[in-house]
């Protein structure tokens, strides 16, 4: 219970900080929105599936941007403020504190994705329909959790480095590309497949598209052939859950290693 309480406190603390700094609007709301807008203008004359890719892509970019922001910049900020040492001096393990923050940012990501969807449908009149809303929401939630778990894995490394901001920027676009949030990953070169398939969000986005009814070329195409959409959806969700759990196990292990190393190297107070 003390750990869950610390996680809740970190969640609330992150919310206060996030809202007190208007800077978060740019990477987390405005940038994904602009990219979605440009994609919609480019694909404007196309039919449903392409438009759906554009809108979902913008939403995913917002969610991933938020996750990276939470795991990277919040630790960088702790270094700048000199609070990282104070946080590591408390009895609560750091992973629970970072997890609380990551959950807040994941929730902001949901709001971001929904805002982009709403603007696309109501303002830009994008022709979007969702074939199966419950399955769509389930896939959306699972994808979000997998993104948060992936962010937690990366954040362990951010504790050790004083270049978390640079790493955050460097990790933003490769994930957009590898997960195929704007297009089917089947159109990427074959050798990128292992990277794409090792990222849970790739599977989650595929499940979202299947649930929305826009999956003429699924994740499996080009690898294992065409599957029945419902079978493909079920496999996608199972893989997302398993991978997210694996990310959490890896994150717990890495945070233990990083905690020990940070105290051995003695660079926690350095900016």
């Amino acid at each position: 219970m003390p750990r869950l309480r610390a996680m809740k406190a970190a969640f609330e603390h992150q919310a206060r900080h996030f809202l007190s700094d208007p800077g978060w609007l740019i990477p987390n709301i405005i940038l994904p929105f602009i990219i979605t807008l440009v994609a919609l203008l480019l694909y404007g004359s196309s039919d449903g599936p392409v438009v759906m890719y554009a809108v979902l892509g913008g939403g995913m970019m917002g969610m991933w941007g938020n996750t990276l922001y939470a795991s990277g910049y919040s630790i960088q900020s702790e270094r700048w403020w000199g609070t990282l040492e104070s946080v590591l001096a408390v009895p609560t393990p750091l992973i629970w504190i970072i997890a609380g923050r990551t959950i807040w940012n994941a929730l902001i990501g949901v709001a971001n994705g929904l805002a982009i969807l709403a603007v696309a449908v109501f303002v830009l009149q994008a022709p979007i329909t969702v074939a199966d809303l419950p399955l769509f929401l389930l896939a959306f939630l699972m994808t979000l959790l997998s993104l948060a778990a992936l962010g937690l894995v990366f954040s362990s490394a951010f504790v050790l480095t004083r270049q978390a901001g640079v790493l955050t920027n460097g990790l933003e676009y490769p994930i957009y590309v590898a997960t195929g949030c704007m297009y089917p990953i089947a159109i990427l070169p074959f050798w990128t497949g292992p990277l794409s398939l090792s990222l849970a969000p790739s599977w989650g986005i595929d499940a979202i598209r299947i649930a929305a009814g826009y999956n003429p070329q699924g994740l499996w195409d080009g690898y294992l052939g065409v599957l029945d959409p419902m079978v493909a959806y079920a496999v996608d969700i199972i893989v997302v859950v398993v991978m997210a759990c694996a990310y959490l196990v890896i994150a717990f292990y890495l945070f233990g290693v990083v905690d020990r190393r940070a105290r051995i190297e003695g660079n926690l107070g350095r900016v």
């Binding site: 007190s20 000199g82 609070t83 104070s86 001096a89 009895p91 105290r263 003695g266």
Partner: protein, 324 residues
């Protein structure tokens, strides 16, 4: 419960760093070298030393923020490397300086966050926060953002944060650094109040009068080693056979100090500046014999020359200049 609540045995800390990219050069810096001491329950123990002496590194090892390279340390019977979580539950860390606080939220929100991270019982949390705010005198500004606080108010918040979970042992790392005289005095009073409540405190400081006023015992650390450990009176006794010639004037620079330092019978020379004038303190074996040579060596405008009894600062200077 153990009699000594802090025990350091032969503590060593080596920092390893490297420079260069293709041809990396590794460098090792010995920051703390076989430091041993113990602090009794309810004692205020001071660690004095110049910048880079190893004071903060020692505190960081005792508060589990740094892993010792060798040696052992126990706080309340718990080993800092084997039972770090048990140590963290029972200690408070008070840092000095502008950093270490969340500026964009209020002081109360800072405290609420740390109360949750330290697991202060929920039923007592808000009451406890108000109590520590009252104790440090920050209640009126508790709901203002920390970025609007003065330096002294930030230090009060540091203290409130460090005692929030009612720790038995408190580590204070230069808590009065950069504070104006009034804020420094308030901080010293708060420190004394904590001792009166039965807390055990380890305090590092640069300020001799602070250590003299507050500490029961003092360890002087220089180049990572403890060069002396005694009561303030005991340390002053190290320079019992010394007198101090204090010169107040204008234009007391390094050249003047070097000339004085070269005189036979001069032990240490130090100077402090206030506004445009300087005060030079010259430790000598025999003030009567050296008063005239020192005065003659002064190629500057002299306002006053006095002979004084040695203080803790004189003992400290004597120690850190390698006379131990």
């Amino acid at each position: 419960m153990p009699e000594n609540v802090i025990e350091a045995q032969e503590l060593v800390r080596i920092y390893r760093s490297s420079t260069g990219f293709l041809r990396k050069k590794k460098k090792e810096t010995l920051a703390v070298n076989k430091v041993s001491f113990s602090v009794g329950r309810g004692e205020l123990f001071g660690v004095l030393g110049p910048n880079g002496a190893g004071k903060t590194t020692t505190i960081k090892m005792l508060t589990t923020l740094l892993t010792p390279s060798a040696g052992t340390a126990k706080v309340l019977g718990f080993d800092v490397t084997k039972d770090p979580v048990e140590v963290r539950k029972r200690i408070g860390l008070i840092l000095g300086g502008e950093r270490g606080l969340y500026y964009r939220v209020s002081g109360r929100q800072n405290l609420k966050y740390f109360a949750d991270l330290y697991g202060v019982p929920l039923q007592q949390r808000d009451r406890r926060i108000q109590d520590v705010l009252d104790m440090v005198g920050l209640s009126e500004k508790a709901d203002s953002k920390v970025e609007d606080y003065s330096r002294g108010m930030k230090q009060k918040l540091h203290i409130a944060k460090g005692i929030l979970h009612d720790p038995e042992v408190i580590f204070m790392d230069e808590p009065t650094i950069g504070l104006d005289p009034q804020a420094s005095r308030e901080t010293r009073k708060l420190t004394q109040d904590l001792i009166n409540q039965g807390k055990t405190i380890l305090l590092t400081t640069h300020y001799m009068f602070e250590a003299d006023e507050l500490c029961r015992r003092i360890a002087v650390i220089n180049n990572g080693k403890i060069v002396a450990m005694d009561t303030p009176q005991g340390l002053k006794g190290l320079v019992r056979d010394t007198a101090v010639i204090e010169v107040e004037g204008f234009g007391i620079d390094d050249k003047v100090m070097d000339r004085v330092r070269k005189l036979d019978g001069v032990r240490t020379v130090s100077a402090t500046a206030s506004e445009s004038k300087q005060v030079m303190r010259v430790q000598v074996c025999d003030a009567g014999e050296l008063l005239s040579p020192v005065t003659k060596a002064l190629d500057c405008k002299v306002i006053d020359v006095r002979v004084k009894e040695p203080t803790l600062e004189d003992a400290y200077l004597w120690l850190v200049e390698g006379h131990a």
